[in-house]
């Protein structure tokens, strides 16, 4: 009986505690309720949304992009913000899941409203959300991946913020065809099964076709742990070179497996696969055959003002290890793009004003982290000039093959 009374007392206390917590929460919420205007702008703050995979299968690259964006905004805020307002980054985790993406998108549009959204790293979700975005009021400023469903035809609601697949394919294929001396190159695309992977391969096939060559697609799963059957298929195709689309693991598995079979086929990964851990994981032997094509310069790879500024800030906030990751650089550059857009919108920004400003066109100068890129009312492609990068295992730094200008001929 006593024991029963004791339990009862505990239950009563728990219920009382919950009631008090709920009341306090409600009260706190009431205060905050006044601070959520429709466009995500208050007198001292601008809310900017990010929609990326931060705990799912592609989080290894996408969460680093988020860090780059957040760090640039921290730097802006330390410098006084934009017209005195701090930029508050609301990063939503979509876990590479279309349903979660839909929920998070709705949240950033209506629940915790933001002035604009960056990222959107899940291509399948981009396809699903494209009609809603195009017909909506929240611009997507700086996409992490670009699908034609979202970015074509050109709309004032969408601005690509990453190296385009088409230009990646053109520059990469052009450079390696020239380097290997292949007249009509045979190329294999190793790609994860995704909307973006198929689109990228189509661009590779187009670029190879222009040179009179052929391209073959070999698909792998994003969560694959072993791709031996695909590697055997790849080797049977005897390609002049390979291009890889996917996550870090896709490159690692491909290059390691090729190394185990003693195959020395030149390969280049898409920009997202420009991470030092990939080169470290595959080692110098396989790494000698692996490069990546990028419209961004990794931290420490050159002495440009933008690179020095980003590297110094990353070191300052304890993210020095990330600065070499191309995803970090890309996030940082999109941060510059977002800040530039807000600056141009003026001291009283709204979603409509931001869209109006963006649609007139603007240029992003990252001070050397990428070749300057311009948006116009008829072209929202974003960065289009590329370079091939490899890894110098002696200095543990990335090395560029030539200058951005050398590659302009491939993407004309």
């Amino acid at each position: 009986m006593e024991q029963h009374k004791g339990k009862l007392e505990i239950a009563r206390r728990a219920a009382l505690g919950l009631a008090v917590a709920a009341a306090v929460g409600y009260g706190v919420g009431s205060v905050k309720a006044q601070e959520s205007p429709a466009d995500g702008v208050t007198k001292d703050r601008i809310d900017w949304g990010l929609l990326m995979d931060m705990s799912g299968p592609t989080s290894a690259s996408q969460s680093i992009w988020v860090a780059g964006f957040q760090d640039y905004m921290k730097k802006v805020n330390e410098g006084g913000g934009i017209f005195g307002r701090k930029v508050n980054v609301l990063a939503e985790d979509n876990r590479f899941n279309a349903a979660t993406d839909k929920i998070a998108f709705e949240k950033l549009v209506g629940q915790t409203p933001v002035i604009a959204i960056s990222g959107m790293g899940t291509s399948a979700s981009q396809v699903a959300l494209a009609p809603t975005i195009k017909a909506g009021k929240v611009p997507i400023v700086g996409t992490y991946t670009s699908t034609s469903a979202l970015s074509e035809p050109v709309t004032p609601m969408v601005y690509n913020g990453f190296c385009g697949y088409k230009q990646m394919a053109q520059a990469g294929v052009g450079y390696l065809a020239e380097k290997t001396g292949a007249k009509a190159p045979k190329v294999v695309t190793v790609a994860i099964e995704s909307a973006g992977g198929k689109e990228y391969h189509d661009y590779v096939a187009e670029a190879v076709g222009k040179l009179g060559g052929t391209a073959q697609l070999i698909s792998v799963k994003v969560t694959a742990a072993d791709i031996t059957p695909q590697i055997l298929e790849l080797m049977a195709a005897k390609p002049d070179f390979i291009t890889i689309y996917g996550v870090a693991n896709t490159s690692i598995l491909t290059m390691k497996a090729l190394g185990q079979y003693g195959a020395k086929i030149p390969a280049f990964g898409i920009t997202y696969l420009g991470a030092p851990q990939i080169f470290k994981a595959i080692g110098p032997e396989a790494g000698a055959n692996y490069n990546f094509i990028s419209c961004f310069t990794p931290g420490g790879a050159d002495a440009s003002a933008g690179n020095a500024e980003m590297s110094a800030y990353a070191d300052k906030v304890g993210r020095g290890a990330m600065k070499e990751d191309i995803n970090y650089v890309a996030g940082w550059v999109v941060g510059q793009m977002a800040a530039e857009a807000l600056q141009r919108t003026g001291d009283n920004p709204t979603r409509a004003k931001l869209v109006e400003t963006l649609s007139k066109g603007f240029t992003v100068d990252s001070k050397g982290l990428a070749a300057p890129f311009t948006y116009t009312p008829t072209n929202n492609t974003g960065p289009v000039v590329f370079k091939m990068f490899g890894y110098d295992y002696a200095t543990n730094k990335f090395k560029a093959f030539g200058e951005y200008a050398d590659y302009a001929k491939y993407t004309k």
Binding site: M1, H4, K7, L8, A11, G25, Y26, V28, G29, S30, V31, K32, A33, Q34, S36, M54, S55, S59, S63, A67, Q70, L90, A91, D93, R95, A98, A99, K102, I103, E106, K107, G110, Q111, T112, S123, A124, V127, A128, P131, T147, A149, E193, S194, A195, G197, K198, E199, S219, V222
Partner: protein
């Protein structure tokens, strides 16, 4: 008035006694609340008083709609696992079957949406009945493995279908129309989905109270005794699989239409496992448990995420977790909560509620 709601459970449970006024009032309030949810979550205000995101628990209507679709999946799996005692990890396959049937009949053939749902249900039911066939020969973990094999066979079929007929981008689903009523807004979807969940719950509840439902529960509790009592357990197993997967098929079609695009990746093994998690959290064998489990599974991470973002700047490790690693932190807290729940409420939340009820019941009796 209050005495009516706190009346003895034995009195309310007594057969032939009419429900008390308190229960009727509660029912009316519950219906009113459910009808008010879309307005509340769309306007983010209650009777003109604006509410903050946290007061609304960081929830949106899309989330509620996806939760309602998951409730259909959880209800059907609980019917199979909790009530019929057949453990299956092939539920994503039945969802995928429904989505595929919807793609063929809806996207390709242009059938009306109600017929598409019927087709999805039939396809799910047929595949489910076939998936249940091994249960006639194998038991336990062997049977679980057979349902896993079904999962991979169906998702492979989905992938092939998607690649051959559509594209790697996915299968598109147009905005559906129900008797001339276009489901173009989350609010419209909400009412359709809510009606389907209520109908499914009510249908399964009645099925479980029927002669066959009781036989199924007997089969779950003591198969040999059920056989001795004249129950044909082979037929019952196939029927349970067929009904459960038919509901999952319909849910799969709704899921694909709601997202407007579906890929084979959508229906991975994690998708199947989440339904098992839902019914364990809610309470295995209880239809109400399936509803509660789905709600907790779908909504709790969002509530935790909202709270984490409301806390504001914090020093040290906690600050770093809340700002730079919030996504992982939310997953961690959610995981810990689920483990704590499983330790202290092995019968799920419904079991926990029963324990509380018994505790307070004994007090009132004392």
């Amino acid at each position: 008035m209050s005495s009516a709601t706190t009346s003895s459970p034995t009195a309310t449970a007594r057969p032939g006694v009419r429900p008390g006024l308190g229960r009727i009032v509660l029912l009316i309030l519950a219906v009113a609340a459910l009808l008010y949810v879309p307005t509340l979550l769309t306007e983010r205000a209650i009777f003109g008083h604006r509410l903050s995101n946290m007061q609304l628990l960081n929830l949106g209507l899309t989330q509620i709609n996806l939760m309602l679709i998951s409730m259909l999946g959880a209800l059907s799996l609980n019917y199979l696992m909790g009530c019929a005692g057949l453990i299956s990890i092939g539920h994503a396959a039945f969802y995928a079957t429904g989505a595929m049937a919807a793609a063929v009949t809806g996207t390709q053939l242009g059938w009306p949406f109600p017929l598409v749902l019927v087709a999805a249900g039939v396809a799910g039911g047929v595949v489910g009945a076939l998936a249940g066939l091994p249960s006639l020969r194998v038991r336990g973990l062997y049977f679980v493995l057979s349902t896993m094999a079904v999962h991979y066979m169906v998702t492979f079929g989905f992938l092939e279908y998607q690649f051959r007929v559509f594209d790697v981008v996915g299968i598109p689903f147009a905005t559906p129309s129900l008797f001339g009523f276009e489901l173009s807004t989350p609010t419209r979807w909400y009412f359709v989905l809510l009606a389907l969940v209520v109908l499914t719950y009510w249908g399964l509840r009645n099925t479980l109270r029927s002669r066959e439902g009781r036989a199924m529960l007997a089969m779950r509790d003591h198969e040999r005794a059920a056989v001795a009592a004249g129950v044909d357990v082979r037929v019952l197993r196939i029927k349970a699989f067929g009904l459960s997967s038919a509901i999952a098929g319909v849910a799969g079609a709704l899921y694909a239409y709601y997202l407007s695009n579906a890929t084979a990746e959508t229906f991975g093994i994690n998708f199947a496992i989440q339904f098992i998690a839902m019914i364990i959290i809610g309470g295995m064998g209880s239809l109400a448990g399936a509803i509660i489990g789905a709600a907790v599974w779908l909504l709790l991470p969002s509530v935790i995420g909202g709270m984490a973002s409301e806390i504001g700047p914090m020093p040290g490790l906690l600050g770093s977790l809340l700002t730079e690693h919030r996504a992982q932190f939310v997953q961690l807290i959610f995981g810990v909560l689920v483990i704590v729940l499983l330790i202290f409420a092995p019968g799920g939340l419904v079991g926990l509620a029963h324990r509380f009820k018994a505790l307070f019941g004994r007090r009132s009796e004392g």
